[in-house]
């Protein structure tokens, strides 16, 4: 790290105009993230016309502001209305919404804000200190490693199901099956499209996500009779987590930071995968595993910390190698080229001030986001004082509009409603939604990378255990599957004699 450049960058990011634009873009990001269907990449595309007129450093920081803001904003709708605003908030729904049902929405949002801050600061520091080393690490990943990583991700299915492991696995397996719909990427054969042209491109993640969680919830609420629409009183005091609460979630935060940065630097993996992995690992290391799925603070802290820790990680391959880590950084890369910045190894040599302005601005933004986020929480929690009779239909229309934004197609809205019906039955029959989403996200990654690995190794399956990174992920996957099964088995063994004694 060049300290002189860093100080220069810090001063540039505190220049009034730059700072003001950072605030504006972060607020825009929070709003975009909180709207179901709107993602960080859409936000960056929206501000693209304005970036042409900005100095390069301001344009860079504005894009980062939207990116970080949207990552936090996604948690607001996930916690308040059971609708992940962005795919990165998919795992926050699990415990965040449970806390809202218990009247602790403010506390959940406060924790998500602080966790996002911790993850963001950690990834900013990593970006600042070890970006080139992280980029080298990311380059070592090959197809076999990605396949094993996706298997590790899928192994979370077993532990992401709070009540029945079998039902969690079924849900995840159905997600995997859904991910096979469409034209396959290997030889271009249509799979399970039933002659419907739109199914050729498979199911988009957003209609599935919004359908299963938000639309399913809407249908479930509609089954209640008149007069059963009391609002859940929310505690609006003590939004900042107490010292004791922070101590209770420190393991989840550490896990979130590590998982977030590792997943972030790997091209192709992103916040949606990181949040589930962090959730699973936090649960594994937690002393209060029983609270997960029932409104655990750790269950909110880990995914939120991880999805913000991916922001810095995502930037590493983009800035140092010119390789986008995910959709958001791909859009950012395009935007950077449009405004005349060429990311890659030479960027650090040719434009050090610009790079360090971004790095310093990234840290400044995390601190700023902490306060902007808290302000947004005070406003957004009041949404819950609206009675369900009004709130639920409005949320439904918001979902319709949000899903419509994917290519301006009503077909996608129809898909979301279909998944809403599916989600409704899943809820009623006790099938968790998170494993299904996980299957849809990781299914294509597993298939594509297994195919690539086997092509490279001439059908030699041992490549999966010969590569150290791949082997580590496979071992972790086995541990991840065996432990919940063993715990469930032990639990049943313990219950059986007690039942007999009674």
């Amino acid at each position: 790290m060049e300290f002189g450049y860093f100080v220069q960058g810090l001063m540039a990011s505190f220049a009034p105009y730059t700072f003001f634009m950072m605030v504006v873009s972060s607020i825009a990001g929070i709003i975009i993230g909180a709207l179901p269907g709107m993602t960080a990449s859409m936000g960056i595309i929206l501000i693209l016309p304005f970036l042409y007129y900005m100095p390069k450093d301001v344009a860079l920081l504005m894009m980062s502001g939207v990116f970080c803001g949207a990552n936090f904003g996604g948690a607001i709708s996930a916690i308040l209305i059971n609708t992940p605003g962005t795919p990165s908030a998919s795992a926050t729904v699990i415990d965040g919404y449970q806390m809202t049902r218990q009247g602790k929405a403010g506390k959940a949002l406060g924790m998500s804000m602080v966790a996002s801050f911790v993850g963001g600061i950690f990834s900013s520091i990593c970006l600042l200190l070890i970006a080139p080393e992280l980029a080298k690490f990311a380059l070592q990943f090959q197809a076999a490693d990605y396949f094993s990583l996706s298997i590790f991700g899928l192994s979370i299915m077993a532990s992401a199901s709070s009540r029945s492991i079998l039902k969690g696995l079924i849900s995840g397996w159905v997600g995997l099956l859904l991910s096979t719909v469409g034209i396959d990427t290997i030889v271009g054969v249509e799979r399970f499209t039933f002659g419907i042209a739109e199914l050729g491109s498979g199911f988009d993640l957003l209609p599935v996500l919004i359908g299963v969680f938000a639309v399913g919830q809407f249908f479930e609420e509609s089954e209640a009779r008149k007069g059963e629409y009391d609002i859940i009183q929310q505690e609006l005091t003590g939004l900042w987590p107490t010292w004791a609460e922070m101590r209770s979630v420190w393991v989840a935060l550490v896990v979130g930071c590590i998982v977030g940065i590792i997943i972030g630097v790997m091209p192709g993996a992103g916040g949606a995968i990181a949040c589930f992995m962090a959730y699973n690992e936090a649960r594994r290391w937690s002393k209060r595993k029983d609270l997960f799925g029932k409104g655990s603070l750790e269950g909110v802290a880990a995914p939120e910390c991880a999805n913000n820790a991916t922001t810095g990680g995502d930037m590493v391959p983009m800035l140092t190698l010119g390789v986008p880590g995910d959709v958001v950084t791909a859009v950012m890369l395009g935007a950077l080229m449009l405004i005349g910045i060429k990311p890659g190894p030479l960027l650090f040599v040719e434009q050090p001030v610009l790079v360090y302005t971004l790095l310093a601005g990234f840290i400044t933004m995390q601190i700023m986001m902490l306060f902007l986020g808290m302000l947004s929480i005070y406003g957004s929690v009041r949404i819950l004082s609206i009675p369900n009779t009004i709130l639920m239909p409005v949320v439904m229309v918001l979902c319709v509009v949000g899903v419509f934004t994917i290519g301006n197609q009503l077909y996608q809205v129809g898909v979301a409603v279909a998944f809403g019906i599916f989600g409704y039955f899943m809820k009623k029959l006790d099938y968790p939604g998170a494993p299904l989403v996980l299957g849809v996200i990781l299914g294509p990654m597993a298939e594509d990378n297994l195919n690539r690995a086997l092509l490279v190794s001439a059908n030699d399956w041992s490549i999966l255990v010969r590569r150290p990174i791949s082997l580590v992920f496979l071992i972790l996957a086995i541990i991840s599957i065996v432990i919940p099964l063993y715990t469930a088995y032990r639990g049943r063994e313990r219950v059986a004699p007690e039942a007999e004694a009674h």
């Binding site: 290997i186 009779t389 639920m392 918001l398 419509f404 009503l410 409603v417 809403g420 019906i421």
Partner: protein
């Protein structure tokens, strides 16, 4: 819910068999995995999981450990009405436009949920529609369906 689980398990087995048959005529490849291999692997997994669910719940059924269904009385018709209403809303949107159909849908849904203050419902429906339309159409550049008044006549 052993009865529902039993039939769900059987349905999953059926789906798995269907997927398996559906992949039989897919191309085979010499290297790597073919387009049918991965779905077939998933089908095997689904078959095992579905069969396990059916057997587990079948055992409970035999022990007469039946539990009531998780649906409150009268829930199905209400949910069905809401589903049909939502699909009608989506179906009619291209021909009526977002601004015209959304307040109607919102108002009907609010009343369906139990709102009895009709004026509040009507005003909220119109206000929410206009805010969403302006925000998404003019700020986020989302081309929400618009239909001119003369097109409707």
């Amino acid at each position: 819910m052993p009865r529902v689980d039993f039939f769900t398990g059987l349905a999953l087995v059926g789906i798995a068999v269907g997927v398996f048959i559906g992949t039989l005529d897919m191309a085979k490849v010499a290297r790597g995995i073919g387009p049918g291999d991965y779905p077939r692997f998933i089908a095997w997994g689904l078959l095992i999981l579905g069969a396990t669910l059916a057997v587990q719940s079948g055992k409970k059924l035999l022990r007469r450990q039946a539990e009531p269904l998780p649906f409150p009385p009268g829930a199905f018709p209400r949910v069905l009405i809401m589903v049909l209403m939502t699909y009608a809303y989506i179906y009619l949107m291209p021909s009526t436009g977002f601004v015209l159909i959304t307040p109607v849908y919102l108002f009907l849904a609010m009343v369906f949920f139990g709102l009895r203050r009709y004026l509040l419902g009507a005003v909220t429906s119109i206000a929410v529609t206009l805010v969403l339309f302006v925000t998404f159409r003019y700020v986020f550049q989302v081309l929400l369906p618009v239909v001119g008044l003369f097109d409707l006549i």
